[in-house]
């Protein structure tokens, strides 16, 4: 048995070591780009390879953002093994900004003004170093089921629907009317998702400007918690957890009528609600505008070909290329020039009743007033916050108990 184990171990060790070759077969420089989910870069990379004589680009795709994040953290810690370009999600940005030394400063007069101000600002350190080139953003509208609206005797036209969704109170009131008319269908997809959308409109939610944790004493946070938990009591929420199996299944079971909808969510809905007729998108978001998600491309300093990687990241995040990525996978560009591109503004989506999604999302992007401050503890506290809401939804704890245990969790993370 010992010998067998030794043999397998040697074989694994050999298999792991086979990846070190850096130059391609014909002496070209090999660049790797690590992304997660869908960035829409497949065709672009082929295009780039055709343009370049001395560089071969290869894309490494992770299935989920979590998987990519674990890999990124582990290899950052190890000091080796990262790709030449690593994509990062905006929610991890704060934690990674603390390690800005590990990333190449990408600031360059050539790219100044390429992105929406808040997009570039979030990735700029206090010393003015830019650690990531913005790719996409997640301006939010409200997606809704016009067939269920009709059943409830509500307006179905997207212009009229938009008028109902100007403030959160108006949105929730519409929900109360809806659930009265159609009692077995919830108003929105998940309590957590709605809370998330509201938290994303608070400039300093869990941490103040100096990254002190203020989640426990912030009245705005408590307010959101109370609102969402009491609405679930009234039957507005499915009480499901976003991304869970039941949540996915609820698209096929008329589980709910509306949901907060960043650009990248359109593809998710189309996939989950395959065969369901009646989805549409309203050009409105309660409380003004909101942004959910979006990514950056970074160049880790541990890479051997930083200059070439920087040139590639620069090219990929240029407006012309991001418009093509939008065409391919619907990732919404963070570059003002791309937002005016006729390809984008003219884009419609057949699944959403031929809604002019390009134009709607461009307007939703302009409505985003600021990007909320997310410090290094944001993601952890947010998880605890979401779990507290989930405990109330599941009936494991009363709202008061859940809030108390949330406070204990914050204390523990502090």
């Amino acid at each position: 048995m010992g010998a067998l184990m030794a043999l397998t171990l040697t074989m694994t060790a050999a298999a792991c070591g086979g990846d070190a070759d850096d130059a391609g077969a014909d002496g070209k420089i090999k660049l790797t780009v690590a992304t997660f989910n869908e960035f829409g870069y497949e065709d672009l990379i082929e295009e780039y390879n055709a343009m370049q004589d001395d560089v071969v680009v290869e894309q490494k795709k992770a299935g989920t953002a979590n998987e990519h994040q674990d890999n990124l953290y582990t290899k950052l810690a190890a000091g080796s093994g990262l790709s030449d370009i690593e994509a990062i999600e905006v929610d991890w940005l704060a934690a990674l900004m603390q390690e800005s030394d590990a990333f190449v400063d990408l600031s360059d007069s050539e790219v100044e003004g390429r992105w929406l101000d808040w997009k570039a600002e979030a990735a700029t350190t206090d010393d003015g170093a830019l650690i990531g080139y913005g790719t996409d953003i997640g301006p939010e509208g409200i997606c809704y089921r016009s067939d269920l609206f009709k059943k409830a005797g509500m307006p179905t036209d997207r212009e009229e629907v938009a008028k109902m969704f100007t403030t959160w109170d108006a949105y929730f009131d519409a929900g109360r009317d809806f659930t009265k008319a159609v009692p077995d269908v919830a108003w929105y997809d998940a309590s957590g998702a709605t809370a998330q959308a509201m938290i994303n409109q608070v400039e300093y939610s869990f941490e103040d400007a100096d990254d002190n944790v203020i989640a426990a004493d912030n009245p705005e946070v408590k307010d959101i918690f109370d609102t969402v938990t009491s609405l679930a009591d009234e039957g507005l929420s499915t009480k499901l957890v976003q991304w869970s199996e039941d949540w996915t299944a609820s698209f096929q079971n008329d589980g709910f009528a509306t949901m907060a909808c960043p650009g990248w969510m359109l593809g998710v809905i189309e996939g989950n609600a395959d065969g369901v007729k009646g989805w549409d998108i309203a050009n409105a978001f309660p409380g003004g505008g909101g942004n959910w998600g979006g990514s950056y491309l970074t160049v880790p300093k541990q890479g051997e070909h930083q200059e070439e990687a920087m040139a590639l990241a620069n090219w990929l995040t240029a407006p012309e290329q991001q418009v093509k990525a939008f065409e391919a996978k619907g990732t919404f560009p963070s570059q003002p020039a791309a937002l005016e591109d006729p390809v984008l503004t003219g884009a419609t989506n057949a699944f959403f009743n031929d809604a002019p999604t390009g134009q709607i999302l461009a307007e939703r992007a302009e409505a985003v007033p600021f990007i909320p401050h997310k410090g290094p503890r944001f993601a952890d506290i947010n998880t605890a916050f979401q779990q507290a809401i989930q405990r109330v939804d599941e009936g494991k704890e009363s709202a008061d108990e859940a809030w108390q245990s949330f406070l204990a969790d914050v204390e523990r993370l502090g």
Binding site: M1, M5, A6, T10, N66, A102, V241, Q387, E394
Partner: protein, 340 residues
Amino acid sequence: MTLESSAVKLVGDGGDPSGATASPPGARPPDETRPRSSPWRLRLSLWDTKLSPYLYVSPFFLLFALVGMFPLLYTAYVSVHEWGLLGGQGDFIGLENYARVVEDRYFWNALRNTVSIFVLSSIPQVVIALVLAGLLDTQLRASTLWRMSVLIPFVVAPAAVALIFGNVFGDRYGLVNEALQGIGLEPIRWHVDTLASHLAIASMVNWRWTGYNALIFLAAMQAVPRELYESAAIDGAGRVRQFLSVTLPMIRPTLLFVVIMSTIGGLQIFAEPRLFDTQGLGGSDRQYQTLTMYLWELGWRVRDLGMASAVAWLLFLIIIVFALVNLAVSRRVGSLGGRR
């Protein structure tokens, strides 16, 4: 990495006895028939007989030192320091990480869940595997087909298993609950209630490992001399009595091996509960967060490798305790059946 290291260490321990028993036979045949020319040569051949057995077994121990011992000791080194995932090594802080872990209520919660899931999975698993192997050991048509088919679940990747069982154990639209509601029963809240979630996870684990264990038992049962069954039958022992009084005592070493291995595996359950929901923290109240998931949370979510390493070492110690208790218990079980 820390997870793997403790696994490798323990697997190494499991392999250890067989490695040790392999060495004496290698030492036995001193085929030194050549004429003894000089004392130097004599000494050389003496060394040869004495040392070469160790040389033969050394690859295992060298590799074990590299991929088992080193990570184990390095984890201990990390556990007595402040050590951020991204920031790296900080100050030496002695046992403070251990103190913080022991004071954390989620550690005890994870320990409770781990033991509960372990009991719910390992015990039925070994019992069912034994019965299954007993059935496969009888005269069956197309016996290879049956034997291979019990192994199929083992070939399926845990992630795929989690996906399938996710649909089976959905709280609202899951297969089981729809069936329950179909016959007028209350749906079970698989992801919410602690015991229900443990049962669901244990069934995933059992589904994957029962067949594998059954095959190991079967291999051992095939080696039991058939005459024993004949004489037992002549003595008037029925099928069940034969199984209890002949089969069980005869396969005791294998039983011990399987019990120890499933203890090690059972206390390190990770993939199934981790993939049971999308956040991977073991439910809204961490009602199915196991120790390995807790370790992962500390290391990769809270990004504190020092505390995570302390958990890894505590888990290592806990597994040793459990393995020893199991060893004692299964020895008794084996010898009880063997009493005539």
